[in-house]
Structure formats: C-alpha cells, structure tokens
Symmetry: C2
Subunit: 195 residues, 2 copies
Amino acid sequence: MIDVPAREGRGVRVAAGQRFRVIDVEGGQVADTFAFRADDVSEFHSAEHTRVHVNRLFPLPGEQFVTNHRRPILLLEEDRTPGIHDMLCAACDPERYTGLGVEGWHASCRENLERAMAELGHPGIEVPQPINLFMNIPVSGDGELGWEPAPTKPGDFVTLRAEMDCFVVVSACPQDIVPINDKRPGPVALELLDG
Amino acid sequence: MIDVPAREGRGVRVAAGQRFRVIDVEGGQVADTFAFRADDVSEFHSAEHTRVHVNRLFPLPGEQFVTNHRRPILLLEEDRTPGIHDMLCAACDPERYTGLGVEGWHASCRENLERAMAELGHPGIEVPQPINLFMNIPVSGDGELGWEPAPTKPGDFVTLRAEMDCFVVVSACPQDIVPINDKRPGPVALELLDG
C-alpha cells in the first residue's frame, strides 16, 4: 500500500497486466491520476483520445483509457464509488491558485506530478489532462460546468489494470479554494494488487 | 485570405491584437484550429485549461481561450455560425484512420498541424486537443458523445483575436469515415483582418 498524504503525490512503475486500486481513504477527496508509457514517456494517457475511444466523457467499467497514440494504457476494471469522475479539467497548478487569489506558494497536482515523475527518473514531462478520479463536475445541458464536492465515502475505490508497462502517478488534490474536496483536502492511497 | 484546401492545413504567425476569421467556405466542414505562443511553442492553447477558465465546454463570444499556463491566447470575438463547436475530441491522426479500418495513408489533422508548424520553423511540437470549430459532438445527459454533421452554412465564420503573438494553424478536417463533415470534406479559409 502506497499512502499518498493530503496535498502530495506518489508515483510507481506498474507492469502490463498488473492491477491496482486508487482509494479515497477518508472520502470526499479527488485523486488526479496519470499514466505514462514506461519505454517512452512522451506517450501518456490522453483524455481527448480516450473520449473518442469510448464515445463518452469518461470510461465505464470494462472500458480502457488510451494514450495520445490511441493505444490502451489502463483498463477501468471495477468502480466501487458512486461512479462520478472527471476528465474535463486541467490539473491545478501554481497559475490556478494565483488566479484564485492565493498569495505565495500553494501545493498543486501539476507540481506533485512533476516531482513524482522526476523521482522516477523523468523530469520535464508534458503534463496531460488528468484522470480526475472521484471529481464531481456536472455538465449542464448548455455546456456549463459545476464544481461540486466529491461524493465518495471513506474507503471507496476504483480498480485499474495496466495495459502496458507504465508509470502511474496519483496526486491527492490540494484544492482548498473551490469546493471539490469540500475545502478539506485529505489523503488517498494506491494499492498494488497481484503481488 | 489564406485558402485551406480540403484535407489540408495552413499556418500563419499572428501578432497580439490582430483579428482573423476562420470561414467554412462551402458549409458543413470542421476546422481544427490550434494556437502556439510564438516565443515558446511549448505553450499553446489548452482545452482543459480553457474549460476551467470559462466554466464551460466551449467559450461563448467575448470569452478567451487560455494556454497550458492559463494565459489568454485567443478571444472568441464573434460567432456567425449556429454556435456549435467541439473541444472534446482529439485531432484525427494516422492511428484513428487505422482504427476505422482505412488501409494505407489517410490525411489527418495531426499531420496537417505538424507539417504547418514545421514550415513555420517548429518541427516536433506537442499536439494539443484542438479547437474543433463547427464540429457537432452533442453530449447526452449520461455523458455519451454523438457524431453529427457540422451544421454550418456556406460562408459561416467565427472571428478570433490573438491575445499574444502566436502561430495559428487551421486544418480542413479530412475525416470522411464518420459523418462530422457529412463524408464530403471541403475547404475552409483563414482571413486576416486589421491589415
């Protein structure tokens, strides 16, 4: 079990076929999740290619996330949450918090990703549109986006399977200005299954 | 006036403050549009940052597209179309056509973009989620995507204003397998205004 403390990120190399869980430990917490091909980190999970692949805003259980070269990289095997996730919103970043009126440094999913990938030997990666697990961004009929608290309960999780050797990074989103984490960012966890 | 022949792409450098139009010459044709900061092409228009900036799937007239560093790069000044555009779907690419059963080479918006940027002196750019002008991808209440013909009439256009010095590339989408261009890809045009 890899604990991802509140406002931080963690990364791990996962082999093709390996399954893992992303767990919302205390509930109501968004987990920005990223996957990069281990052999070539310029290939990574892509929200815009995945939407075309599944014809949906977000995959259903049994469907795959694909890369910017349209190859399967993750399978959404099981969803033990209310089934609310987002793939529309950029990772929070220093510019986001400046725009929200924060003075000085604020932890962000972009920096968490960059730090985790640097520790895995890959500084300077492109920052993809994240897979925002547990994030509640309702889309109205006229295309307006809402910003609602994550509806997950403590211990809710999704199970994913790596479809290629990849680096997986999970960030416990530090957003505490808009209400997606109910303004109390908490921890998440990454559990590797199958040994 | 820069003619963009059917299935091809064209790029141009645009100065901050300059306005330009993207015109659907014959109607019913998608125009994949991209903008890169002239000083540093690793900064480019970003669909996921723009959605957060405007709280919508696509900006309304008067709203801005922002970059992956959340800086305004284009303003949607005027929309003389039915107001249907997409920012959810990746640019078509060789892998897309292979997946659709095409054998051999097929023109694609990704290759059109890469060629246009190479001609402007920038090979090897990251390929962003495009601004798919005139593209009709309805989103149902449960998040399913439709693929419908573009509803534009001949001569319909949008007017954009550059908010920083940038390279703008427009691709007349060569998609002829799914019905977004009514399976008859046509030309578009890029008209620079203000001199």
